[in-house]
Amino acid sequence: MTFSVAMVVNGTARSLEVDPRRLLVHVLRDDLHLTGTHIGCDTSQCGACTVVVDGRAMKSCTMLAVQADGSAVTTIEGLAPAGTMHPLQAAFWEKHGLQCGFCTPGMIMTAVDFLERTTDPSDEEIRHAIEGNYCRCTGYQNIVAAIKEASSLLRAGGTASIAVGGDDEEPLPPFSEEEGAAPAGPVAEAQETSPSGSSSSSS
């Protein structure tokens, strides 16, 4: 038995017949061929499959596809128009916030939501925001730098200065809100504080 699921994925309305046991990540990858969303674990720890659902970052392995019926979903492929980069994508490139690239889409989608709510984050706030996203390559240091850089770019008007595959010269059109990336909610999330309260040094 299958169920009908209607979603807006990266701005395009999609209707699918879905086996109810299948997860959102499987439908995105296998049915819609959006393979930029990755699967890194089977216990919802790693965050490689994070996408934005109705404005909030969501591990797409924690959701059945049928639960996404009626939702707007943004994946890494829909974050910026072809040939351009979202400030987060540009900043990850600029700051060497990735190595093997496998965790990168999930990491970026988590940061999309985070920077909507926290426009000028500290290093420590960034480290807590990406706690649900594992990276085994970078040691996180340059990911923190990248998210910080992206926050400056967004505060400065959301203009990325880097075009895909090109050099630094050509400015991009201003970053526009993606469908599904809702503006920050009325209630600001309370920021977590470090349980250890440590991390004495910062960049």
Binding site: Q45, C46, Q99, C100, T104, R127, N142, V164, S203
Partner: protein, 813 residues
């Protein structure tokens, strides 16, 4: 070499646009028409005999195309190879190496040796159908007693895994001078002894493993996509050992690979299985993508040593002898290069950066009911460095000397190179030699100590005490062996690696002047497409944007040994330079013809060729490439096209080193350890792309610190993997770390003209002992000398409690 332009610059990576936009292609992203899916049934028991397997139920399930057991494959597929028997006995008095080889089958037939060993496979139209059908397979098991502990496996009465390996000994191996070391221990002012556990780790590349096989009926050829660090080696191993088909009938492609850390060096059952299954299905492609749980159960693990060490020292801190006996867990059967890791890459480096005159190291490789153990980031060198750097602190503690001073007293001096150490690192029995060719260890230590404020650490300790914290500082001054390796030294006639270890590169300059570099090494996150382009762009004097790097496809790239052992830059990069040299030599002949001059009079500078003294009448390399391509007017005997290949066998390894300082705070009440600062000064020689180097170091630090504080793979006594998922295995998270404070010294490697050494593993090797030394320092007031890793709050708290109750705080892991 040419004046550096791209070389040495922190340019952004060429591969990144596809990764940040989600358009990379990892193996599970490969989609082919008619794709089918494999699900492997794995043993739920660590040690059991297979009495029977009934797959008829699975075959009747919806969507199922086939199901097979190990017996169905036996006629066509051989066991996986073990390609690095422990070798190279260095002429010590301990006799020949005993290797009792047992390697895995593609699917087990008679018995299983670990939880997760594959016994049957189902192929279906969809992933879900394959997994459902797998549930319908019925296996009749006869359970056997299990043993998981590497030392315990050799004890009398322990369960036996293999008839050909009495007492579960897979191999024994020894290096150094036993008598001399015993004499040094006897004559020493002080002797310190310690049992040290280097716990088992799971590598955890973020992309688990997988493979896709496609057989072509028309030409009886196989294409296998796999997440691998070594596509050329895998083609060779599958052809020569497992599948028994000629090498030219197999094409291996490692597409984008989501990290490896050693786990993707090796030959795995699924690689052969998907190819064979595709042929049985008449050419329909077969995909196997393991889950994280399968990766934990059936992918290689790392480390897992139990070591007994004795250190001899004079009262002034001079170390005069080091005697080590290590039990190294190999798992239930041997992985591709398992025995090479705790032997060559461990025992031969035990003296590290120190001038220790007497070293003896004995290694017993054991079979246990655990998954196979093989190289994990650092591979043998972290284990050696951990033993040695703990030894230095134990000596310092015993003598009441500052740990920094003990290290200074024992460092090799800059004028003592080249140096041949006493554990025979440098003199294999066949007289092939590698030697520590350079080093200048004290400046790196000075710099790290200054950055950390080491001289004033007492004040910081007092301040922390007032907050209920014990502050500790720990050092690690490591030496690494990278750029592996001269083939004569490491190969079958030397250290026992089953082939060679040279590298390759091909350069073609097209009619348009654009350059394609094809390499035998294989990126899985290191950024070869950028650094290799930087090398070649600089050599040829072309824009770095004009150099495209092809890798990881055996169709179209020259054979290479792949990426591990921090070898891609030092060995693979040199192959690229040698190929560029050949291009330049031919270009000079062509340019001389175009300029009506003699080739010897033509010089090549930054992409231009001209007669000495006449740079105004230059031909660019692009113009020469065009002339070479069209071939309308070539000198006699000169072939068209600029297309050159070079193979480079390095004359020596490289020897990166560094000094790391960790500062931790231990909560007096809970034992929780907080890493508050981390200083790393690394000397990897000349840096091709400093941004990429720093990234490698950051990642290495997190893995090394992760071992010290959190990570550990745990089997229970029945062989069940308790850390069977990411819920249970502590992959470090971003919030657990401070911002690392990094600096460098630069001692160029004399072995290659770039002066590069390698940096992929350095920080993992250096950081683990620094953190443990810091925690032990924090607990010095308790009389605690050692705690086994990982230093979790529970383990530290237990050590403090034991010390408070009058013991020495020793808590065995």
């Amino acid at each position: 070499m040419a004046v550096a332009t791209a070389f040495g610059a922190a340019i952004k990576r060429k591969e990144d646009p596809r990764f940040v936009t989600g358009t990379g292609t990892y193996v599970d992203d490969v989609q082919l028409p008619g794709m089918t899916y494999a699900a492997i049934l794995r043993s739920p028991y660590a040690h059991a005999r297979i009495k029977s397997i009934d797959i008829s139920g699975a075959k009747a399930m919806p969507g199922v195309l086939a199901a097979w057991t190990g017996k169905d494959l036996e006629a066509d597929l051989n066991p996986l190879p073990m390609a690095w028997a422990a070798g190279g006995n260095s002429g010590g008095e301990v006799g020949g190496v005993v290797n009792n080889v047992n390697s895995p089958r593609v699917l087990a037939i008679d018995d299983v040796k670990w939880t997760g060993e594959g016994v049957a496979v189902v192929i279906a139209e969809t992933r879900e159908q394959a997994e459902d059908a797998r549930e319908a397979i019925d296996v009749d098991w006869e359970l056997l007693p299990a043993v998981v502990d590497t030392e315990g496996a050799t004890a009398d009465g322990a369960p036996q895994l293999h008839e050909n390996a009495p007492n579960n000994v897979a191999f024994t191996w020894a290096v150094g001078d036993r008598d001399g070391t015993d004499a040094a221990l006897k004559a020493a002012d002080v002797v310190v002894k310690q049992r040290i556990v280097n716990q088992r780790l799971i590598p955890n590349p973020m992309e688990a493993r997988g493979s896709v096989g496609k057989w072509e009926q028309g030409n009886d050829e196989y294409t296998i996509w796999m997440g691998s660090q070594t596509p050329h080696i895998q083609r060779l191993l599958l052809a020569a050992f497992v599948m028994g088909v000629p090498e030219n009938k197999i094409r291996v492609i490692a597409p984008d690979v989501g990290g490896g850390f050693g786990q993707k060096i090796f030959c795995y059952a699924d690689m052969a299985l998907v190819a064979w299954a595709s042929k049985q299905l008449g050419g329909r492609p077969v995909k196997f993508a393991e889950t994280r749980r399968e990766n934990y159960q059936a992918g290689t693990h790392g480390r897992d040593h139990i070591t007994y060490m004795k250190v001899a020292a004079k009262r002034d801190g001079t170390v005069t002898g080091l005697k080590v006996k290590t039990y190294a867990n190999m798992g239930g059967r041997l992985s591709t290069i398992g025995p090479g890791i705790p032997t060559t890459l461990y025992g031969r480096l035990l003296a590290g950066p120190y001038k220790i005159p007497n070293v003896f190291c004995e290694v017993i490789g054991t079979y246990t009911n655990t998954v196979f153990v093989d190289a994990y980031r650092g591979a043998g060198r972290p284990e050696a460095t951990y033993v040695l750097e703990r030894a230095m602190d134990l000596v310092a503690d015993e003598l009441g000397i500052d740990p920094a001073d003990v290290r200074r007293r024992n460092f090799l001096a800059p004028d003592e190179f080249p140096y041949r150490n006493p554990s025979g690192l440098l003199r294999s029995w066949n007289d092939a030699e590698v030697e520590i060719d350079s080093g200048n260890y004290e400046p790196a230590l000075d710099k790290a100590l200054a950055m950390a404020g080491y001289a004033d650490i007492g004040t910081a300790k007092q301040e922390a005490e007032g907050r209920g914290k014990h502050l500790g500082v720990g050092l690690s001054t490591y030496l690494e062996i990278c750029g592996v390796a001269p083939s004569k030294w490491i190969g079958l006639v030397g250290e026992g690696w089953g082939a060679a270890m040279w590298e390759s590169a091909n350069i073609r300059i097209h009619l348009t002047g654009k350059v394609v570099l094809s390499i035998g090494t294989s990126s899985h996150g290191q950024g070869h497409e950028t650094t290799m382009a930087q090398i070649v762009a600089t050599e040829l004097g072309v824009p770095v944007e004009d150099v495209t790097v092809d890798h990881s496809d055996t169709f179209g790239t020259p054979f290479g040994y792949g990426t591990y052992g921090s070898r891609s830059a030092a060995v693979g990069g040199m192959a690229a330079i040698k190929a560029a040299d050949k291009i330049k030599a031919k270009a000079r002949v062509l340019a001389a013809h175009m300029l009506e001059a003699a080739p010897d009079d033509v010089v090549f500078e930054e992409g231009k060729l001209f007669v000495k003294g006449s740079p105004d009448k230059a031909k660019t390399i692009q113009e020469v490439a065009l002339a070479a391509h069209v071939g309308y007017d070539l000198p006699d005997g000169v072939e068209p096209y600029l297309d050159e290949t070079a193979y480079y066998d390095t004359p020596n390894c490289t020897w990166p080193f560094g000094s790391h300082v960790a500062i931790v705070e231990v909560d007096k009440e809970t034992g929780a350890v907080d890493l508050v600062r981390y200083v790393a000064v690394d000397d990897c020689g000349v840096r091709i792309n400093p941004m990429i180097v720093d990234g490698q170091l950051h990642g290495g630090l997190v893995q090394g610190i992760g071992q010290a504080l959190w990570e550990g793979a745990v089997y229970d006594e029945n062989g069940q993997l308790l850390t069977g998922s990411m819920m249970d295995y502590a992959v470090p998270r971003a919030s657990w770390f401070p911002t690392f404070e990094m600096d460098q010294t630069v001692t160029p490697s004399p072995v290659n003209q770039m002066g590069v050494k390698g940096v992929g593993e350095a920080a993992t090797i250096g950081s683990t002992p620094a953190v443990v030394n810091a925690v032990v320092d924090a607990l010095s007031s308790y009389g605690i000398r050692h705690i086994d890793m990982p230093l979790t709050p529970q383990r530290v708290w237990r050590a403090m409690q034991a010390a408070r109750n009058g013991g020495n705080g020793e808590v065995r892991s």
